[in-house]
């Protein structure tokens, strides 16, 4: 069942554009032009997430967000023309899941919405595919060419971190933080060893990896479909 998203923005042109974008991406969409309409839609339709403008004709988004939270704890992304750091901090400080500054690219909005929904509803299937390789999060194993490889705790954490950001570069600092809950200092070589061992399980040819790629000087990237 598709997620239903409530868009609250007082600008009809923007609302229409975002509605079209979300419908095209397979979401169900409700819209509201004011706080009053938004509260009505919220209580009637019970959306899974809200895209919320900060400045509305009959109130402000921050107050509306708190009213939503009192009714039901669902993910909210602020979609605002206010780019001051204070506004972002206020929005995120209230507990919003993301703060997107206008103007934004459609792809950016979809990616961030998807990330928030994934984090909030944890609907990741237990078994996922990376090309010919099958990753079983439930069992912590990799299946490739009829063989099953068990992952160590660190390899699992490493692969999960890269999978969650697949397609994007994850810095070595972020990986060390995920694996050891601390900065890079002293762990860089250990990280390289874990990456090499993970490649041996993930890649058909670990010396010429297709999926787990090194971005020199920065970190690693897990390719979505594998490097040709």
């Amino acid at each position: 069942m598709p997620y239903s998203i409530l868009i609250v923005d007082d600008e009809p042109a923007l609302q229409s554009m975002v509605c079209g974008l979300l419908l095209q991406a397979g979401y169900e969409v409700q819209s509201a032009l004011s706080c009053a309409q938004a509260l009505e839609q919220f209580t009637k339709k019970h959306p899974d997430a809200v895209l919320l403008d900060v400045m509305l004709p009959d109130g402000d988004g921050f107050t509306l967000f708190q009213q939503f939270q009192e009714l039901q704890d669902i993910p909210v992304l602020f979609l605002s023309a206010r780019d001051e750091e204070e506004a972002k901090l206020q929005g995120l400080g209230l507990g919003a899941d993301d703060y997107i500054t206008k103007p934004f690219l459609p792809q950016e909005l979809l990616l961030r919405l998807r990330a928030v929904l994934r984090r909030s509803y944890r609907d990741e299937p237990a078994v996922v595919r990376l090309g010919e390789t099958e990753l079983n999060w439930g069992k912590g194993t990799i299946h490739r060419t009829g063989q099953e490889f068990a992952l160590t705790a660190k390899e699992f954490a490493l692969l999960k971190k890269l999978w969650d950001a697949r397609g994007a570069i994850v810095t070595i600092d972020a990986l060390c933080n995920a694996l050891w809950d601390g900065p890079l200092i002293g762990y860089e070589n250990t990280l390289m060893v874990h990456v090499r061992r993970l490649r041996e399980k993930l890649e058909a040819d670990p010396s010429h990896p297709k999926y787990l790629l090194t971005v020199r000087g920065l970190g690693y990237r897990l390719e979505r479909e594998g490097k040709p």
């Binding site: 600008e11 750091e85 206008k102 103007p103 900065p183």
Partner: protein, 403 residues
Amino acid sequence: MKFKTLWKGAVLVTASAALIAAISILGIVFFVFSSSVDSQNWGVPIHEISNALIWDGESYVLTEESLLEQNHWAMLIGESGQVVWSLYKPDEIPDQYTLSDVASFTRWYLHDYPVRCWVREDGLLVVGAPKGSVWKYDVAMQTQVLFRTPVWFLSLFLLSLVGVLGLSCLTVRRWFRQAQQIRDTARSNWINGISHDIRTPLSVVMGYAAQMELAPDLSPIYQKQASAIRSQSQVIRDLVNDLNLTMRLDCEMQPLRKENLQPTAFLRQVVADFLNGGMADGFDFSIDLPSSPLPDIKADPFLLRRAVNNLLINCVRHNAPGCTISLGAEAERNQLLFWIEGGATTQTIPSPSPRQLEPDGGAAHGTGLNLVVQIVAAHGGTVQFFTGSVFRCELRFPFVSHR
């Protein structure tokens, strides 16, 4: 305009001070001259009293006693120093005087009684007033000192004037600062409002253009046109963002939230986010960061990220895809050196900073790099730009000192 107003203010203050000084001096002089009298001529003139004192052949008689004011007294001292006549003379006043006694009381007091003296053919007439009723002061001054008096007055006046001018200057500067703050706030609010109002329509333009760019049923030429609209909208977006922030920094309205940052981790994350955003597709990136962590710097991560992003955007915008963009960081004495360069690898020469905002509408040009200069300056760092066929920029920040 500012100098003219300051000059006017200074002239006004000087004129006021001079007027006050002149009136004060004139007032004092007038008061002294109008209130003081000849040291022998207070009350009824003593020569009148003397004229009224006559010898009738047997004794002295004051023909008009009314000339002697209330509580005043008089005596006549003969040639031998003996008092030959007196009227209402207090008991404590002696009847015999020596030359030195006379020399003393003629200038000062006689037993604390202020006295006046009048020389007559038959002696010295002395008229006394009640104790404490008259202040007598014998003024003597060297002539040279008297000649220097105007210089002293002028010096003191100039000293006071400097003080008054200094105080006035502080007050005027305060007024100027307040007026400037009001103007800055109005300007910043105006730009903030404009940039806010531009963002929503720009979202719609960018959103539809980006969708059309990927629409499979649109011909390649229209897709290309949509792509141009989308990319140019992004340029406007960056410009609006920069303009807003540059104004806030210019007016010192942007709060600095400084924290200790690990430079290598920070730079890796900023560059990774930039690349993940698809901003540099088609470019080769060469990153040269030391394997061991560099010391921390104290910086506002939001602002520093903006500065590095602007430099990356500048490299991407001014170079064709396929070009290599290099960046790196290293310790240089007690400073962090962060450098970025893009373009052909030839000798580069230092160039001045991008020009500042101009009031003639030229603000848009170079705003991105100007913002870099402002951000680095706000962190106590320095920027150096190099021009040539390769753009190179070096940023230097002080490391956090651990004592």
